[in-house]
C-alpha cells in the first residue's frame, strides 16, 4: 500500500484517532497503540498546557504517534486562531485540526469562520486540517488558501451513522488536490472500509472506538478495515453492473447499415 503524504510527514497508517470519551487514559493509550494510528487528535480544552505532567499528554507520549491538537469549543475564527497559537507554543507542533462549531449541540462546523481562520493560520505557518461539512465548494476554497488536507464529515459527529454524505464525499475526493480525510460519523469498521474504497486518503475515528465495550479490539478492527479498504482501492474494484448486456437493441442497427 502507498504511504500517505500529508503536510511535511509521511504516514503508513491511514487511520487517525481521537482521545475523547474513553473510560480511562490507560485504555485510550492501549486503543491508540492497537489501532496503529500515527496521528491522534486531542482537544486543547481537555489538557493543561502549562503542566508538563498532564495525565492525558503523558499517556499520548507513544513512539511513532504525532499529536494533532484541535480547537474544539471555539465559536469563531478569532478564538480559533488564538487557541492555535497557544497550542503551537505549548505543544511545539504547528499541526492543527481546525474545528469551529458555534452550535454546541450537534457540533456542526461553521464553514465561513473556518475558511477565514484557515487562511490566517496557513499564513502563520500552520499545517491546517479543517473539519467541515461535506461541501465540495468549501473544500476547494480551503485547498486554495493552503490547507494541508480537508476533513469533511460522513454524518453528524458522534452519531455513528456512517457515510450519509457519500455523494458529496465522492465529488470532494474526485476534485481534491490535497488529502481528503473523512471525519465524524464513522461508526463501524465497514463504514471506514467504505470511505477508503471510494478513495478517501484517510479516516478519523473516535467515538466508535472509545465508546465500544472493548475499545482495544475495536481499534484493531478499524485498523484492519482501513487497510482492507485502501488495498481494495489501490487494487481497483471490479465495476458493479446490473443485469446482463447480451443484446444491443439500441445499436444493433449499425450492423445492418450499408
Amino acid at each position: 500500500m502507498n504511504n500517505l503524504i500529508l503536510g511535511d510527514k509521511i504516514f503508513k497508517s491511514r487511520l487517525f484517532t481521537g482521545t475523547g470519551k474513553f473510560s480511562s487514559n490507560e485504555i485510550m493509550k492501549q486503543a491508540i497503540e492497537a489501532s496503529g494510528s500515527e496521528l491522534v487528535t486531542m482537544a486543547l480544552k481537555r489538557i493543561d498546557i502549562e503542566d508538563a505532567n498532564d495525565n492525558m499528554l503523558q499517556h499520548l507520549n507513544i513512539p511513532g504517534v504525532n499529536l494533532l491538537p484541535n480547537t474544539s469549543g471555539v465559536r469563531n475564527a478569532k478564538e480559533a486562531i488564538f487557541a492555535a497559537q497557544l497550542a503551537r507554543e505549548a505543544l511545539e507542533t504547528n499541526w492543527l485540526k481546525l474545528e469551529i462549531h458555534p452550535d454546541p449541540k450537534y457540533l456542526l462546523p461553521d464553514g465561513e469562520e473556518t475558511l477565514k481562520a484557515a487562511e490566517e493560520l496557513v499564513k502563520l505557518g500552520f499545517h491546517v486540517l479543517p473539519y467541515v461539512q461535506a461541501d465540495p465548494v468549501l473544500c476547494k476554497k480551503l485547498e486554495e488558501v493552503g490547507t494541508a488536507a480537508v476533513m469533511p464529515l460522513g454524518s453528524p459527529i458522534g452519531s455513528n451513522n456512517g457515510l450519509q454524505t457519500i455523494d458529496f464525499l465522492k465529488i470532494i475526493i474526485e476534485q481534491s488536490n490535497v488529502p481528503v480525510v473523512v471525519d465524524a460519523g464513522i461508526g463501524a469498521p465497514s463504514h471506514a472500509a467504505a470511505a477508503m474504497e471510494i478513495g478517501a486518503d484517510a479516516v478519523l475515528v473516535n467515538t466508535a472506538i472509545a465508546v465500544s465495550p472493548n475499545p482495544v479490539e475495536m481499534a484493531k478492527a478499524f485498523k484492519m478495515a482501513v487497510e482492507a479498504g485502501r488495498m481494495a482501492y489501490e487494487a481497483k474494484l471490479a465495476e458493479q453492473s446490473v443485469g446482463a448486456n447480451a443484446s444491443s437493441p439500441l445499436t444493433a442497427f449499425l450492423e445492418n447499415l450499408d
Binding site: L44, F82, L86, P102
Partner: protein, 370 residues
C-alpha cells in the same frame, strides 16, 4: 418576546391532566421512537412509565455514553456570600433568619481557592445569596478576578442580572450561569418567594433569555423538586429547554433537579419526590434530549449517586461546603443546605474510576473564549 410569552400558551392543570392520562401504550410508543417530542416526554414522566424504568435506564445509559463517553466531569461550589434579600420559605439563607451574614473579600477568596485547588478541581461554581446592593455585578466580577488565574472554568449561581451585566462578566471569563426557576407554577410561585427581588416571577423566568442574548456559553436550568408536582414542573422545564435551544442555539444547556427532602424543623416538601421518581425523571430527560448536561449534587446520597453516574448524569460535585469560607476557615458560618454525600473528592473520583469511568477535572480553558 420571551419565554414568558411562550408559557402563556399552556395551562398548568391541563398539562397535569395530559400527563396523568398517558397510558402504557403511549409510553411504549415513545420508547420506540428515535426522537421524542414533548408529547412523548409527557408519557415518559407519567405514572404509566414507572413499569418501564429498566428500559428507560438502559436507553439513557447508551445515549449518554454515546454523547459524553464514559466520563464524569467534576466541579465544586464556592460560596462567596450568604447575604440575601429574599425570603424564600425553603432556604437557609432566608433574609428573615437571624444570623451574621458573610460576604467574602478578595483575600478570603484566594484562601478558599488555595484549599480547593489542593483537592484537584479546575471547574469552579461561585454561589451567592441574592443581594444586588452588596453583591452585585461589580462585586462578582471582582471575586472572579481574584481567582481566575487558578481555574479553567468559572460558573455562577447568584441573583438574576441584566443582559449587559452578563456580557460584562462573560468578557471577564465567566463561562456558565445557573438560574433555577424553582417552580414554573406562577400562581404558587409567590407563596414560596413572598418578598425580595426573587418574588418577581417574570423577571426570573426571562433570565435565561437574557443569558442567551448575552452570549453566555452555558446556561443551567432546573426546578426545585418538592414545591409542586414534579411531573408538571419538570415538563415546563423541558419546554423551557426546548424554547431556549431553538432561540439561543449557540449556548449549551445543563439541567439539574435539586430535591427537597423532609427534615426536622425546616420547610416540609409539599410533594414527595422519591429516588425512583428521580431515576424516571433523569432518564426521561436523557431520552428527550441527548445533548443536555445533567448534574447531580451532594444533596443526594452516596449510594444513589454511585448508581446514577451510569444512567444519564454527566457532572458531579464533590467535597462541597455550602457556607462562605467553608474550605479555608474551620469557624462555622451559615450553610445553605446540609449535604448528604460527604465523601472527599478523591474518594468520589476513585468510586467513579472503579465503575469504569474517567474523571474529567478539566474540559475548558479561559483562552477558548475571547
Amino acid at each position: 418576546m420571551s419565554f414568558y410569552n411562550e408559557i402563556q400558551k399552556y395551562n398548568w392543570d391541563e398539562v397535569k391532566n395530559q400527563i396523568y392520562s398517558k397510558t402504557e401504550a403511549d409510553v411504549k410508543h415513545a420508547l420506540e421512537k428515535e426522537k421524542i417530542d414533548l408529547n412523548d416526554f409527557q408519557a415518559l414522566i407519567s405514572p404509566a412509565a414507572s413499569a418501564y424504568l429498566e428500559t428507560m435506564a438502559q436507553k439513557s445509559m447508551q445515549l449518554t455514553q454515546k454523547r459524553f463517553g464514559k466520563c464524569i466531569q467534576m466541579y465544586i461550589p464556592l460560596y462567596i456570600s450568604n447575604s440575601c434579600t429574599n425570603t424564600c420559605v425553603y432556604c437557609g439563607f432566608n433574609h428573615k433568619n437571624k444570623f451574621d451574614r458573610k460576604i467574602l473579600k478578595s483575600e478570603e477568596m484566594r484562601q478558599e481557592a488555595k484549599e480547593i485547588k489542593k483537592l484537584g478541581f479546575e471547574h469552579i461554581l461561585l454561589v451567592s445569596g441574592e443581594d444586588q446592593k452588596n453583591c452585585g455585578c461589580d462585586y462578582i466580577g471582582e471575586m472572579m478576578d481574584s481567582i481566575k488565574d487558578q481555574f479553567s472554568l468559572i460558573s455562577l449561581e447568584a441573583q438574576p442580572l441584566s443582559t449587559d451585566e452578563y456580557k460584562k462578566l462573560t468578557h471577564k471569563g465567566l463561562n456558565t450561569v445557573y438560574i433555577y426557576q424553582e417552580t414554573y407554577n406562577e400562581l404558587n410561585y409567590k407563596k414560596y418567594h413572598p418578598a425580595g427581588k426573587k418574588s418577581n416571577y417574570q423577571y426570573r423566568l426571562e433570565t435565561p433569555d437574557r443569558l442567551g442574548q448575552a452570549g453566555v456559553h452555558k446556561v443551567g436550568l432546573g426546578c426545585l423538586l418538592g414545591l409542586e408536582d414534579w411531573r408538571v414542573d419538570t415538563f415546563f422545564t423541558a419546554l423551557h429547554l426546548q424554547y431556549l435551544e431553538r432561540n439561543y442555539w449557540k449556548s449549551k444547556y445543563s439541567i439539574s433537579f435539586p430535591r427537597l427532602r423532609p427534615h426536622a424543623g425546616g420547610f416540609q416538601p409539599n410533594y414527595e419526590t422519591t429516588q425512583k421518581d428521580l431515576v424516571q425523571l433523569i432518564t426521561a430527560y436523557r431520552l428527550f434530549n441527548h445533548h443536555v448536561e445533567i448534574s447531580l449534587s451532594t444533596r443526594e446520597s452516596e449510594k444513589f449517586r454511585d448508581n446514577m453516574l451510569q444512567l444519564g448524569a454527566t457532572s458531579f460535585s464533590a467535597g462541597s461546603k455550602t457556607n462562605p469560607g467553608g474550605y479555608s476557615n474551620k469557624e462555622e458560618s451559615l450553610e445553605q443546605f446540609s449535604i448528604n454525600d460527604d465523601r472527599s473528592p478523591s474518594e468520589i473520583a476513585e468510586m467513579i474510576q472503579s465503575k469504569g469511568y474517567e474523571v474529567v477535572w478539566k474540559d475548558w480553558d479561559n483562552f477558548m473564549q475571547l
